[in-house]
Point group: C2
Chain length 180, copies 2
C-alpha cells in the first residue's frame, strides 16, 4: 500500500521568534486534497551523562507550556553549522558543567510526528569531568544526580514523564545490558 | 530554588484548522521578561494492544511533517467530553478493529515539553477481540502484529523512533516484568 502524501503547496501559518508553523496543501493516497500544519524545528540533542559511580546527571527545569517543573536529561537545539556531537558537548557543558571523554550515539527519536519535524539525537556521555556550568542569567535549572536504576524507577512511578528523557534512559539501560 | 515562570499576558500567534500556537509574555525567576511560544493541544491517548499470543498490534503510517512512514502504536487525540479511556477504546476500534475487555492505565508522557502542552495517556489493552476497523477514506494506515520482544528489538535497531511508541512499549515491558 502506498501511504505517501504529496506536497502541492506550502505557506507560513506563523513565524514566531522561536516557533515556525507551516501549512501545506497535500494530496492524500486516496487522491483527495487535505491540509497539514506542523512546526519546523532544527533538531535537538539529548545527552545521558553517566558517571563512573553509575549515577546519571539530571536536571529540574520549569517548562512553561505545562506550567510544571520536569525532571529531564540535558538537551538542546542544534545551532547552525553544528554537528550533533558538538551540540551535545556544548549543551552538556553549558547546562551541567560536565565534559565527557567518551561519546556514544545511541540513536534518534521523533517526539512529535503528528505536528513537528523535530528529530532528537541521543548520546551517551561517559568518562565525565566536573566543571562550571555556563547558564545565561535567564536560564534557571537545578542539576542533580541519581543511580540509573533509581531514574528508571521514577519513570515507572510517573515522576519522570518527559518522553525524550524516558526514551534516552531506556536505550541506555538496554545498551548497558548488551555491553556488560 | 524557585524555577517558576509567571504569565504576564497571552495572545494567539496562529489559529490554524488543526494547530493553535500561543505567545505569552512571562516573568522569569531572574525578574526579566521574556516570551514563550507553544502549541496548545487537547491531549492524546496511545494504546498498547497486547494479544494473548504475546504479539503487539502496530501500525505503519505516513507522517507528513517528516515525509516518512513510521511504525507506531494506535493513538489519537481526545475528543470533547471524552474520557481518556473512551478515547483509547474509540481509537483502537477505528484504527485496528480490535476491542479489548481489559484496560490498564500505565501512565502519562509529555512528548514535547519545550513547545507544546500535549500530554499522552498510555493504556495497555488486553483480552482483545478482532473486528472491522473504521478508518475514514482519507486515513491510510497498515495494521500488523509483532512479538513484544521483536518490537523492543526494532527500537534498539533504530527502526522504531516514534517517542510515544517507545515510551509505551518500555512501560509495557516493565509492567509485564513486575506482574509475572
Amino acid at each position: 500500500m502506498d501511504l505517501t502524501e504529496h506536497c502541492i503547496s506550502t505557506e507560513d501559518l506563523a513565524k514566531g521568534d522561536f516557533l515556525c508553523v507551516k501549512r501545506d496543501q497535500v494530496r492524500l493516497p486516496s487522491g483527495h486534497v487535505s491540509q497539514r500544519e506542523y512546526v519546523t524545528h532544527p533538531g535537538a540533542v539529548v545527552i545521558v551523562p553517566l558517571l563512573n559511580n553509575g549515577n546519571v546527571v539530571l536536571e529540574r527545569q520549569f517548562r512553561y507550556p505545562l506550567n510544571q517543573v520536569f525532571i529531564e536529561l540535558p538537551a538542546g537545539k542544534i545551532d547552525a553549522n553544528e554537528s550533533t556531537l558538538q551540540t551535545g558537548q556544548r549543551e552538556l557543558l553549558e547546562e551541567t558543567g560536565y565534559q565527557a571523554q567518551d561519546w556514544v550515539k545511541l540513536g534518534e527519536q521523533h517526539p512529535c510526528i503528528g505536528y513537528s519535524n523535530e528529530v532528537i539525537h541521543i548520546y551517551l556521555a561517559r568518562d565525565l569531568k566536573a566543571g562550571v556550568s555556563h547558564l545565561d542569567v535567564d536560564e534557571a535549572l537545578e542539576v542533580f544526580e541519581l543511580p540509573l536504576s533509581e531514574a528508571i524507577k521514577l519513570i515507572q512511578q510517573g515522576e519522570i514523564t518527559d518522553s525524550k528523557t524516558i526514551v534516552a534512559l531506556f536505550l541506555t539501560e538496554k545498551y548497558i545490558q548488551n555491553n556488560e
